[in-house]
């Protein structure tokens, strides 16, 4: 009897606390509902991220077509390069990004690079370059003449004339 009375007292005196608990529970449930509604679809499928973001990254347009795309049409140049030291140099390493040209050859007509600038990027002498790499001091070597006066870029070795 006394115990029951104590229980009743206890309930009455903690009633205000139960209101706080109720508030917190309502807040928690609201949070969980919102969370369910707004977390991106499939989040966590492969790991802690949005799998769709892989597609977002992959959707980026391509600027460099890649050597295989160039070689598909320009077999004559592949042939010219095949015997020279530049055989392993990718086409777009010198000619620049040409995916648009590969896509529609008539839409973008690539400009030939200026060999006086282009060749020096790689072959200008620099103490930090690997020792075996062919290097020249262009000012002394060619006196300002464009490199393709003597060298053919696709096969740069000078074979004696005639």
């Amino acid at each position: 009897m006394l115990c029951l009375l104590g229980m009743k007292d206890f309930l009455r005196n903690t009633e205000h606390l139960s209101r706080v608990v109720l508030l917190l529970v309502v807040g928690l449930i609201a949070f969980l509902l919102v969370r369910r509604a707004v977390v991106p679809a499939e989040f966590g499928k492969w790991g802690h991220y949005r799998p769709a973001s892989l597609d977002d990254v992959r959707a980026r347009p391509i600027k460099f077509a890649g050597r295989e795309a160039c070689e598909a049409c320009h077999s004559d140049q592949v042939e010219a390069k095949s015997k020279g030291k530049h055989v392993n140099v990718g086409c777009e390493a010198c000619h620049g990004p040409l995916a648009k040209h590969a896509e529609d050859p008539s839409a973008v007509v690539p400009q030939l690079p200026d060999t006086a600038i282009l060749c020096a990027r790689c072959h200008e002498a620099n103490s930090a370059k690997p020792k075996g790499f062919p290097q020249v001091i262009t000012a002394e070597h060619s006196a300002g003449l464009p490199c393709n006066t003597c060298h053919k870029p696709h096969n740069p070795k000078i074979v004696s004339e005639n």
Binding site: R58, S75, G90, R121, A128
Partner: protein, 249 residues
């Protein structure tokens, strides 16, 4: 007339010269529908890169190609090239420079000592600290081993930039999200190589697929002295340098 002949070759020669997968992928490239590219299986690849230090000539082609391919904002770098200069035995105090990340190449500078170039990019770490610290899952490692940023989810808190030991990340000033090398994920998932590898004239960088048993990377790793950057960081870095000098950091 000439053009027509070329176009014809384009249609037939493409399929003869390109590998089957690359040729099909190329069609999707032209259609601009990367996500539809059907025969790429994320579970079949584990991407990495090998760098032959002895071949790098510091031309900056990779830096420029990366900036073009990925619209990297000026003054920020997804890849860059460093020049090291070491006097005799003083390998703990190398003199390093990287003017504009090597974008414009390197004017000749040092006489004497040991000098060489080191290309840098994201190491696409298997246990990446940047992925570990991202509070929301906006940066992650894909099932095929590439560390990417979800631009639509990144808060721009920059904790990942702090956590990267290699300085590979930056805050994209236009997007206000973390930015970094994607290993040209849009290219490699379509059978192409990265823009930096494509434009490297000396093949100092080569994309590698560690899950492909036929990839020459395995032979390369077996037969050379290979090192990753800051191995003590234990990040599982996947950019492997051949003959890397101990002074490089």
């Amino acid at each position: 007339m000439e053009m027509n002949r070329r176009e014809m070759i384009a249609d037939t020669g493409k399929y003869i010269l390109m590998t089957g997968a690359a040729a099909i992928a190329w069609e999707y490239v032209l259609a601009g529908k990367a996500e539809a590219s059907p025969n790429y299986d994320v579970t079949k690849h584990w991407w990495a890169m090998i760098i032959d230090v002895d071949k790098c000539i510091g031309c900056g082609n990779c830096v420029r190609a990366c900036a073009t391919e990925n619209d990297v904002p000026e003054g920020y770098f997804r890849t860059w090239v460093e020049r090291y200069h070491i006097e005799d035995w003083k390998s703990e105090n190398p003199e390093v420079d990287s003017p504009n990340g090597g974008f414009d190449g390197f004017p000749d500078k040092h006489q004497g000592g040991k000098n060489f170039f080191i290309p840098k990019l994201c190491n696409h770490c298997a246990d990446s600290p940047c992925v570990q610290v991202c509070p929301v899952g906006a940066t992650f490692r894909t099932p095929d081993g590439v560390v990417l940023v979800d631009e639509k989810y990144c808060l721009g808190c920059r904790y990942c930039i702090q956590a990267c030991p290699y300085g590979c990340r930056f805050l994209n000033p236009k997007k206000n999200t973390a930015d970094k090398c994607t290993l040209c994920y849009h290219r490699i998932t379509q059978g192409l190589t990265t823009a930096c590898c494509e434009s490297c004239p000396t093949s100092a960088r080569v994309l590698a697929d560690l899950k492909n048993p036929k990839d020459p990377v395995h032979e390369f790793l077996r037969t050379h002295n290979v090192q990753v950057l800051k191995p003590h960081m234990a990040t599982g870095a996947k950019v492997f340098y051949k003959n890397l000098d101990g002074a490089v950091r």
